[in-house]
């Protein structure tokens, strides 16, 4: 098993190295090595994941205890030792399934999608590096290795968002993602420092045990645990783009679409969710922090959903829906429904990966156009893309029996039963909103009249097979995975896998397992009804068949609808302008911060640099002065040595060196 897990990391990094070295010479053939590496890694990953999930040796421990080993001792420095340790348990396995499968399919998809790009090999090299980093992230057995991987995926994200670095907006977006993430990472690193100083180890299992013992012994104030949990959560907020650090993700859509699918929908942005789930023993000790997690999550969910209503860029709609779904996951974690949150992570990884790849296929078809106002009526022209995206959208909307329905409803149900009624209520509304904006997107893109530029319209074509196959496979996964893992409700396979892992945390929080009952049926029916309502509304407003159904007059027309609702105009403007967050941050950090920076710069240049330069001048002058000693005359040197010897002798005799 050690070999397999090591291989899992070795394959993508080897692919990266090989592609980086020789990729340029391979030209259009550059994909063989990296794609081959990832396909193999996928197979290895599946073996590892299923051995873990089915409890094959060496995964035979109690309570979902995983299997860990150390590749080698990385930092031996007295008390501070860190191993490059890897750890696989059922949580890791669940993540492995998503990361490997979506990663593999995105690699295959990219063969076709990036075909005409001059940076073909560079793209695959980066993708492989990303796969390595992401796998390291989920396999890490301690905070430091996790953090290194965390930064590595951040680096890859930066490189890939800015892949078309000659385009100014892409370069800016990459920079924005990197800088916003620094804010979260600062908090995360402080959290790691805090863990180290309180328990003296960074290994997950040891650290959690140590914290529990300290708390049991009363050696740790509750506020300290809450502080650690919140600091760690700050990192998750950055990486998973939650409010108030959510602004980078929509801009990240400047990257190539496969990147958006892989990194900014299915894997990297989930790292925050994974990390909070991994650190569940810490969060379980800090219920206040859990409330914050739930609050931030559900607020992001509704905020992002409201913005998604009015976006016209197909990828931005998906980006905001990703934000919103990540918000759901955090809400799930916050209310103590860890299993449901991870379940949603898995299903979302599949259907959102599908939707992004589908959007890539659409963009490809209409010649790199992303504005939905210039699409429309594409259903017949690109039927494969349309069918698969329809599946993805239905899943996203929460229509049974597709993937999204099971996981989303588990989160909402848990929120309700664990007493977080506000979270449930907001989530309930967001469910309807999600269905609405998804089908607004479908409508604008695929239904109705074609608004495509006539020059382009003639050349619309379905994507090559290398792109269609991943779409179909992901669609198939989206259809089955929900029922496969989530049926029967609240008691599906996913619970068998993950519940033992989170059991201690649930006990600490005082959460009971309740049998699935009538209340749950009511909740499920309500949310399905809500989703259907949203869906129907979108179909009515943006769909083609307006005539078949007799609608009340004031709902018959979009403008009339907007005019009829009080405050709608304001809401519409707020949504289009993303609630002015970008402008607010621009004002705060660029304008005001820039002024402050300029003032500091003046201070720095005149006062600080002045003194530093002064010191440097003195230093350099001293150096020049000392150079004079180096006369080049051997007599002087001998004299110097003799003097040194005399000085040493006198000092020894006087006992100065004692």
């Amino acid at each position: 098993m050690e070999t397999l897990v090591t291989l899992l990391l070795a394959l993508p990094i080897a692919g990266f190295g090989a592609t980086a070295l020789v990729g340029r010479r391979l030209g259009r053939q550059a994909f063989w090595l990296p794609v081959g590496a990832i396909v193999t890694a996928w197979a290895v990953g599946m073996v590892v994941a299923f051995s873990a999930l089915t409890g094959q040796p060496p995964f035979t421990g109690e309570h979902g205890q995983g299997f860990g080993f150390s590749l080698y001792r990385w930092i031996p420095a007295g008390d501070f030792t860190v191993d490059l340790g890897l750890y696989v348990d059922n949580l890791t396995a669940a993540l492995l399934i998503v990361v490997c499968t979506v990663g593999m399919l995105v690699h295959v998809y990219s063969i076709g999608y990036m075909e005409h790009d001059p940076g073909y090999w560079r793209f695959f090299a980066y993708l492989n590096l990303f796969m390595f980093s992401m796998l390291l992230l989920v396999l890490a057995d301690n905070f430091l290795v996790l953090f290194v991987a965390w930064e590595l995926v951040g680096l890859c994200s930066y490189l890939l968002i800015g892949f078309w670095y000659k385009r100014r907006s892409a370069a800016l977006a990459a920079k924005k993602a990197f800088i916003v993430n620094r804010v979260g990472d600062l908090g995360f690193s402080l959290g790691i420092f805090a863990v180290w100083t309180t328990v003296g180890t960074l290994n997950f299992q040891d650290a959690f045990r140590g914290l529990d013992q300290k708390i049991a012994a009363g050696a740790l104030e509750p506020w300290m645990v809450t502080g650690i949990a919140l600091l760690i959560f700050t990192g998750a907020v950055g990486k998973s783009a939650q409010f108030p650090l959510h602004v980078w993700l929509p801009d990240a859509m400047e990257g190539p679409t496969p990147v958006s699918a892989l990194i900014h929908a299915a894997t990297m942005v989930n790292a925050g969710v994974y990390m909070v789930a991994r650190a569940n023993p810490i969060f379980a000790q800090a219920p206040e922090a859990m409330v914050v997690v739930a609050g931030v999550g559900i607020f992001t969910a509704i905020l992002a959903a409201s913005i998604a209503f009015t976006q016209n860029d197909i990828k931005r709609v998906l980006a905001y829906s990703t934000l919103s779904q990540l918000g759901y996951m955090f809400a799930g974690l916050g209310v103590g429904a860890f299993t449901a949150a991870i379940f949603h992570l898995v299903t979302h990884g599949f259907f959102k990966g599908l939707l992004f790849l589908g959007s890539g296929s659409v963009i490809h078809a209409v010649h790199e156009e992303q504005d939905m106002r210039k699409m429309g009526g594409l259903a017949r022209r690109i039927p494969w893309t349309y069918a698969t995206m329809l599946v993805g959208s239905l899943a996203m909307a929460g229509i049974p029996p597709l993937a999204g329905f099971f996981s989303k409803d588990e989160i909402l149900g848990s929120a309700f039963r664990n007493g977080f009624l506000v979270v449930w209520a907001v989530g309930f509304v967001v469910a309807g909103m999600s269905a609405f904006y998804m089908f607004r997107m479908m409508g604008l893109t695929f239904w109705g009249e074609s608004r495509v530029d006539p020059h382009v319209a003639a050349k619309i074509h379905e994507s090559p097979w290398s792109m269609r196959v991943p779409l179909v496979l992901l669609a198939a996964a989206t259809v089955v995975i929900g029922a496969l893992l989530g049926w029967p409700l609240e008691g599906g396979t996913i619970h068998a896998w993950l519940d033992p892992l989170f059991e201690p945390a649930r006990e600490l929080l005082g959460l009971e397992h309740e049998a699935f009952g009538g209340l749950d049926v009511a909740l499920v029916l309500a949310s399905v009804a809500m989703a259907t309502l949203g869906l129907a509304g979108a179909v009515r407003l943006f769909g083609a068949g307006a005539g078949r159904f007799r609608w009340p007059a004031r709902l018959a027309d979009r403008d009339a609808l907007v005019a009829s609702v009080p405050g709608a105009r304001f809401l519409y403007r707020a949504s289009v302008n993303k609630w002015w967050f970008d402008d607010l941050y621009h004002l705060l950090f660029v304008v005001i911060g820039g002024r402050a920076g300029a003032a500091l710069r003046w201070f720095d240049e005149r006062i600080v640099d002045g003194s530093v330069n002064g010191i440097a001048t003195v230093t350099v002058a001293a150096g020049r002065g000392l150079r004079v000693i180096q006369t080049g005359r051997v007599q002087n040197y001998a004299m110097g040595i003799a003097l040194g010897l005399v000085a040493l002798t006198l000092a020894y005799l006087a006992g100065l060196f004692r």
């Binding site: 080698y72 031996p76 000392l626 180096q630 040197y637 040194g644 040493l648």
Partner: protein, 503 residues
């Protein structure tokens, strides 16, 4: 002579054997430099294998020869392996430099190997006289190597200065040994240590200590005994400079370990102050002067002085603990640092050597502008070595600095803690002049119309192939010691244990 003697002497005999073989081959088939290259490189690898095998790997028992005046313990084996690495990389890098300048490579190989045999003798000496013998055997070929470029004025001048001052300091050191002998009546290191344990320090022994300190300080090029260094380093052919800045320096530290740590360890409270002062002066002055250099060779010469200072910090940390204290982290720091230093410093000099007098490159820093476009791999390697010299993780230099500074920080002596602070400040100042080279290589544009440097074609030209092998070896060592220091660290721990607990 018994077979046990032979086992102990095997590495030493192997070096001498290879040296004599190359000499004989050159005598029979004069002018076959390629043969000398092959013999030298293969021979030194064999020497390394013999050292490893007869040393029993890392935890071999102590074996002695010549009635106990030469002994091989874990420290000897470790240091010998460092010397082997130094010799190997030097031999790999040298042909590319010497060949085009018409300098005979066979003689270079032979001279270098004789010097290495002296270093082996120092590392394994259990008697002060053997140690001195080793010292002379080490430095005499060094003088020859410094003046290897006979027709070049600078080379000869540097060699003469090196020779005169070196002899001067050898005499001083020998005088110190005579004092020690006079007061203890023995030259055996173990017996000296026993005789000195606990006794008060008379004025005679104090004189002896002063002479020993001055002599050793000269050999490691500590301030204020460093004057010979810049002139000798700059004048010598660059591969020789690479060797001179590592081989004799590490050997001199081996000498310090044998003399100061082993025989004078019992009275370490008497000399710790001298080491603290020397370390402080050496780091600071080396870095200050390096700051103002615009010639890379000279800058690296001064920077090697500064590195001597960092290693001395480890010695100070060891010496500041009372005699008999079990903590050896200072010694471990010294040993690890020597290995790390050998790789990174040789690597940096090797790049300079490779580029010197290629189209448009001299050892002036300005000519390195835009190197990343002209010779990308060399530029990246140079950046790696320089970052390691700065001490940036994850490179060998980082752990080297980390260990000596950690040892010093944990000291109970406030002076040594202050020394650690000074070392950190110095490391920060040093970053400036190392990174300046990186800035030139990566961020400045080369002048218009510069031809490529021409280090490609490694498969066509044997010399270039050797050169790149040497550079790769240095690069791999620098990275591996930074990423996976554990195996070396285990050897270092055993070597340090062998030094303070002679059995």
């Amino acid at each position: 002579m018994t077979s046990a003697d032979l086992t102990a002497l095997a590495p030493l005999l192997a070096v001498l054997g290879v040296a004599i073989l190359v000499l004989a081959v050159d005598f029979v088939l004069p002018g076959r430099d390629d043969l000398a290259v092959a013999l030298g490189v293969v021979g030194i690898v064999v020497v390394g294998a013999v050292t490893w095998a007869t040393g029993g790997g890392v935890d071999g028992a102590i074996q002695s020869a010549f009635g106990g005046s030469y002994a091989v313990d874990a420290a000897t084996t470790f240091l010998d392996l460092v010397f082997v690495v130094i010799a190997l990389i030097t031999l790999l890098v040298a042909p590319d430099y010497l060949g085009p300048r018409g300098l005979p490579f066979a003689e270079f190989t032979v001279t270098l190997l004789f010097a290495i045999s002296g270093a082996f003798l120092i590392a394994g000496s259990a008697d002060l006289l053997v140690l001195f013998l080793g010292l002379e055997l080490l430095v005499l070929p060094g003088y020859m190597l410094a003046g290897f470029h006979k027709r070049e004025g600078l080379s000869t001048e540097g060699a003469i200065k090196y020779f005169l001052l070196g002899s001067f300091s050898s005499a001083i050191f020998l005088f110190g040994l005579a004092f020690v002998w006079g007061f203890t009546g023995t030259t055996r290191i173990a017996e000296v240590a026993a005789a000195l344990a606990g006794g008060p320090l008379g004025p005679g022994l104090a004189m002896g200590l002063a002479f020993l300190t001055a002599g050793a300080a000269f050999k490691i090029a500590a301030v204020p005994f460093h004057y010979w260094t810049p002139d000798a380093y700059q004048g010598s052919p660059t591969p020789v400079t690479a060797y001179l800045s590592t081989g004799p320096k590490v050997a001199a530290f081996a000498l310090i370990l044998r003399v100061f740590v082993e025989s004078l360890g019992g009275i370490r409270a008497e000399w710790v102050g001298a080491i603290v002062v020397l370390a402080a002066l050496t780091m600071t002055l080396g870095n200050l002067v390096a700051l103002t250099q615009s010639n890379l060779k000279r800058m690296l010469a001064y920077s090697s002085i500064a590195h001597t200072g960092y290693i001395l910090v480890g010695l100070a940390a060891f010496a500041a603990e009372p005699a008999g204290d079990p903590s050896r982290s200072g010694l471990e720091g010294i040993l690890f640092y020597t290995a790390a230093y050998a790789f990174m410093n040789l690597g940096a000099f090797a790049v300079v050597s490779a580029l010197q007098r290629r189209p448009g490159v001299t050892s002036e820093i300005g000519t390195y502008a835009g190197l990343i476009r002209r010779e990308p791999v060399a530029a990246v390697l140079m950046a790696l070595f320089l970052l390691s010299l700065v001490g940036i993780p994850p490179t060998a230099g980082f752990f080297g600095k980390a260990y000596v500074i950690l040892a010093a920080v944990q000291s109970t002596d406030p002076a040594v803690v202050a020394l650690a602070v000074l070392a950190v400040l110095n490391a920060a100042a040093a970053a400036f002049y190392y990174l300046r080279v990186v800035v030139f290589m990566f961020m400045r544009e080369a002048p218009e119309g510069m031809p490529p440097v021409g280090l490609g074609g490694i498969l066509r030209e044997r010399r270039l192939f050797l050169l790149w092998t040497g550079l790769a070896a240095a690069g791999v060592g620098t990275v591996v010691l930074g990423l996976y220091p554990v195996p070396i660290l285990e050897m270092v721990v055993k070597a340090a244990a062998a030094l303070v607990a002679p059995g």
